[in-house]
C-alpha cells in the first residue's frame, strides 16, 4: 500500500513539474499553486450501510382489540441494545400464523423474509439480519407472550437472579420470574451507560452491583461512582447507582440523559403498600453539577414507586422519564420513603401508595397502567449531583396489592 502511494505521489510530482514548466513557457507568470488537490474532487462512492438493526416491528391482525390489550401494542420500537422483542397478547390469541413487518436498517436483509407468516405458538422465532454491505449480522428473537394472570397479591423483588450481560460480560443485569417461572429482564440500570464512560471497569466497579450479604440471600448494592475522564469530558462527572423497573435507552445516554431512563412496565393490579429493607451511607464529598464541593451538604438516596396511566386521552403511549417520573400528570399513585436516612443496619421501610386519581379497573386489567419501582444512591444523581461513594443497599422489596371486588 505504501509503495503504491509513493509511486502515485512521484507521478503527481512529475505532472506538477511538467505543468509548471508549460505554464511558465506560455505565460511566464507564476501563480498560486493549489495544494488542496488531495481534498477536493476525489470523494469516493458512499459506502454501503454496515448496520443490521431491526428498528421497529409492527404486527397487523384482523381484530387487534381481540388480540392485544392496547391498540398501541401492535407496534414496538426496538432499542439498539435489544435482541429480544416481546409482544404481550391476550391469553386466547391465536399465534400460529402471524406476519410481523420489520423496519430494518436501510438496505439490510432478513431471514426469514420480512412480513412472512410464521408460527409463534411454539415459542420465539429467530430473525437474522444482514447489513447492506454483507459484513455484519444480528440475531433477534421475536416473542408473542400470552399475558399470565398474576395470582399473588404480593409482588416480590428479592434480587436473587442476576447475571453478567451476555455479550460484553462487563456488568450485571437483574431478572424477575414471570408467572410461568421464567426469568424476564424487568430491571434496568445505568450500567450500560457506565460501560461507555469506563470501558476498563470490572463488573464490581459498576454503579449497580449484586450484594452477597443481603437481608436474605442476595440484595442489590447501588453506589455513586466517578465516571472518569470521559464523564468529565461530557460534563457527567458521576453516575449514581440506580435500579428501576423499565428500560435504559443507551442512545440517549450522552445527549438527553434524563430521557435514557424509561420508567415503568404494564401492571395489572392495584398496589397499596411498598415495603422492603435498606442500608444507606452518604459519600464524603458532595459536589454540584460543575464538580464544585458543596461544604456541609450530605448526600441522600431515594426509594419510591409510581403507578401511572400509560396512555393519554388521545390514546398515545405515555412513558415516564427522568425529568417527570414523579410529576407527570398521568401519575395515579406514588409511594415514597420520606424518612430515608443514613443507617448501617438493615432498616425496614413500609410506605402506602398515595392515590391522587381513581383507578379504572377495566383499564387496569387491560394493561393500561404501568408501575415503576426506583432506587437511587443519590437523590439528584439524574442531574449528576451527589457524592461519590454514596451507597444504598436494598433487599426483600414487596409491592402489596389488594384485589378489588
Amino acid at each position: 500500500m505504501h509503495l503504491k502511494n509513493r509511486i502515485g505521489f512521484l507521478f503527481r510530482y512529475y505532472f506538477f513539474v511538467k505543468m509548471l514548466r508549460k505554464f511558465f513557457k506560455h505565460t511566464g507568470v507564476l501563480m498560486m499553486a493549489a495544494a488542496m488537490m488531495p481534498l477536493s474532487s476525489c470523494f469516493k462512492d458512499e459506502p454501503l450501510n454496515a448496520e443490521a438493526d431491526i428498528e421497529r416491528v409492527v404486527v397487523k391482525v384482523a381484530q387487534p382489540e381481540q388480540f392485544f390489550f392496547q391498540l398501541t401494542d401492535t407496534a414496538q420500537q426496538v432499542l439498539s441494545t435489544d435482541s429480544v422483542v416481546t409482544f404481550v397478547v391476550r391469553g386466547h390469541a391465536d399465534l400460529t400464523a402471524l406476519a410481523p413487518r420489520l423496519t430494518l436498517t436501510p438496505g439490510a436483509t432478513v431471514v426469514p423474509a420480512n412480513g412472512s407468516v410464521q408460527d409463534f405458538s411454539k415459542g420465539p422465532v429467530t430473525y437474522v439480519v444482514t447489513s447492506q454491505d454483507g459484513q455484519w449480522k444480528r440475531r433477534y428473537k421475536i416473542v408473542f407472550e400470552p399475558q399470565l394472570v398474576i395470582v399473588s397479591d404480593t409482588i416480590k423483588y428479592d434480587f436473587e437472579i442476576f447475571d453478567l450481560e451476555p455479550s460484553s460480560k462487563k456488568y450485571y443485569l437483574w431478572y424477575n420470574l414471570n408467572a410461568a417461572g421464567q426469568p424476564i429482564q424487568e430491571w434496568a440500570s445505568g450500567n450500560p451507560g457506565y460501560k461507555i464512560a469506563r470501558a476498563t471497569a470490572k463488573p464490581d466497579e459498576y454503579p449497580t452491583i449484586p450484594l452477597a450479604e443481603g437481608y436474605e440471600g442476595y440484595g442489590v448494592k447501588l453506589i455513586t461512582r466517578d465516571t472518569g475522564p470521559f464523564g468529565k469530558m461530557s460534563k457527567k462527572p458521576i453516575a449514581a447507582g440506580n435500579l428501576f423497573l423499565g428500560e435504559f435507552d443507551m442512545s440517549k445516554a450522552t445527549t438527553e440523559t434524563l430521557k435514557s431512563t424509561r420508567f415503568g412496565l404494564p401492571f395489572t393490579k392495584r398496589p397499596t403498600k411498598y415495603t422492603g429493607y435498606y442500608k444507606y451511607t452518604g459519600g464524603d464529598t458532595y459536589k454540584d453539577k460543575d464538580g464544585n464541593v458543596v461544604p456541609g451538604k450530605k448526600d441522600i438516596g431515594s426509594i419510591y414507586a409510581v403507578l401511572y396511566r400509560n396512555h393519554d386521552a388521545a390514546g398515545n403511549e405515555v412513558m415516564l422519564f427522568g425529568d417527570d417520573v414523579q410529576t407527570n400528570p398521568n401519575i395515579v399513585a406514588i409511594a415514597k420513603v420520606k424518612d430515608l436516612h443514613e443507617t448501617t443496619e438493615w432498616t425496614a421501610f413500609d410506605v402506602p401508595f398515595e392515590y391522587s386519581k381513581d383507578v379504572d379497573e377495566q383499564l387496569l386489567e387491560n394493561r393500561g397502567y404501568s408501575l415503576t419501582v426506583v432506587f437511587s444512591a443519590s437523590v439528584e444523581g439524574d442531574l449528576f449531583i451527589g457524592a461519590i461513594g454514596s451507597t444504598l443497599c436494598v433487599d426483600k422489596v414487596r409491592v402489596i396489592c389488594t384485589r378489588e371486588e
Partner: protein, 253 residues
C-alpha cells in the same frame, strides 16, 4: 508558543542581517542570500480519500505563516543548489461529514472505540523549523527548485470532536450512542501527544523575480510519512502533511 515564535523571528532576522553584511564569498563558497515570507495552504490528509469521508463541511484558514532565510549557490550553468531555514505553521481546521468512520478515543486510560456516522472537526497546528535542501534550475526569470526537507516541530496539537451523529460502540452491531452538538454532548479527542517531532518530506517550488530584488514564490511540500508516530493506529488512515505555500522573497544580496 509565543516565545518560540518571537525567538524564531529574532534568530532569523539576525541571520538575515548577518547575511546582508557578509560578502559574496561567505565561507568562500559564493552564496547568495534571500529572505522570504509566505503562507501555507493545505492539510494533513490521507493519500487518496477513504470512502468513509463523505464531504467537507468547512475548511477554515489557520495562521499558517512561513518565514525564513535561504542561501543559493550557482553550480553549473542554469543549475544550482539552495539551503534554508524556515519557521512555519502547517495548521488545519476542517469539518468533515463521515459515514462508518472508525474512531478510537483514549482518555486517561479509558478507551471508547466504535464506528461513527456524523460530523468530525479536526484542528491541527504544527509550528516547526524546516530545513529544505534543494537542487535548482533557472528557466528565464524563474528558478525551479526540488529537494527534500527536514522539519522539527516545536508546537503541535491535533484535536477536535465528533458531533451531530451517532456512534456504534465497538462495531456496527454495538449499542447506538447519539452524539450532540454542544460541548458535553459531543465526543472530544486529542491526539497531540502522538504526533511526530521530526518530519521528513519532499518539496518542489519555483521563484520568479519580477523585479531586481523582489520575487514571488510557490512551493508544494509533501511528507514521506504521517504526522503521527508510526505506532499510532487510532485514526484509520495515515495522515500526511500535504501543503502548498505562496509568498514573496527578497534578495538580501
Amino acid at each position: 508558543m509565543k516565545k518560540t515564535i518571537i525567538s524564531a523571528i529574532l534568530v532569523l532576522t539576525a541571520l538575515a542581517a548577518h547575511a546582508s553584511k557578509a560578502d559574496s564569498t561567505f565561507l568562500g563558497m559564493g552564496f547568495r542570500f534571500e529572505g522570504r515570507v509566505g503562507y501555507n495552504i493545505g492539510g494533513t490528509a490521507p493519500m487518496g480519500m477513504p470512502a468513509t469521508i463523505r464531504a467537507l463541511n468547512r475548511f477554515s484558514l489557520t495562521p499558517n505563516i512561513t518565514f525564513g532565510v535561504g542561501a543559493y549557490k550557482p553550480i553549473y550553468g542554469r543549475w544550482g543548489a539552495k539551503v534554508g531555514i524556515t519557521f512555519e505553521n502547517k495548521g488545519m481546521d476542517m469539518d468533515a461529514r463521515v459515514k462508518n468512520y472508525h474512531m478510537e478515543i483514549v482518555k486517561g486510560g479509558e478507551v471508547l472505540a466504535g464506528v461513527f456516522t456524523g460530523n468530525v472537526v479536526t484542528r491541527v497546528t504544527q509550528w516547526m523549523f524546516t530545513v529544505p535542501l534543494q537542487v535548482t534550475c533557472d528557466v528565464g526569470k524563474v528558478r525551479l527548485r526540488c529537494g527534500p526537507y527536514f522539519s522539527y516541530l516545536t508546537g503541535r496539537t491535533f484535536d477536535g470532536w465528533a458531533y451531530d451523529g451517532y456512534l456504534r460502540v465497538d462495531d456496527p452491531t454495538g449499542a447506538k450512542v447519539m452524539l450532540g452538538h454542544d460541548e458535553g454532548e459531543r465526543g472530544e479527542y486529542d491526539f497531540s501527544d502522538s504526533m511526530r517531532r521530526l518530519q521528513i518530506g519532499m518539496g518542489i517550488g519555483a521563484d520568479w523575480y519580477f523585479m531586481k530584488k523582489f520575487g514571488v514564490w510557490a512551493d508544494l511540500n509533501m511528507g514521506f510519512h504521517g504526522v503521527h508516530k508510526s505506532d499510532f493506529h487510532t485514526i484509520e488512515q495515515t495522515l500526511y502533511p500535504i501543503y502548498g505555500a505562496v509568498g514573496i522573497t527578497y534578495k538580501i544580496r
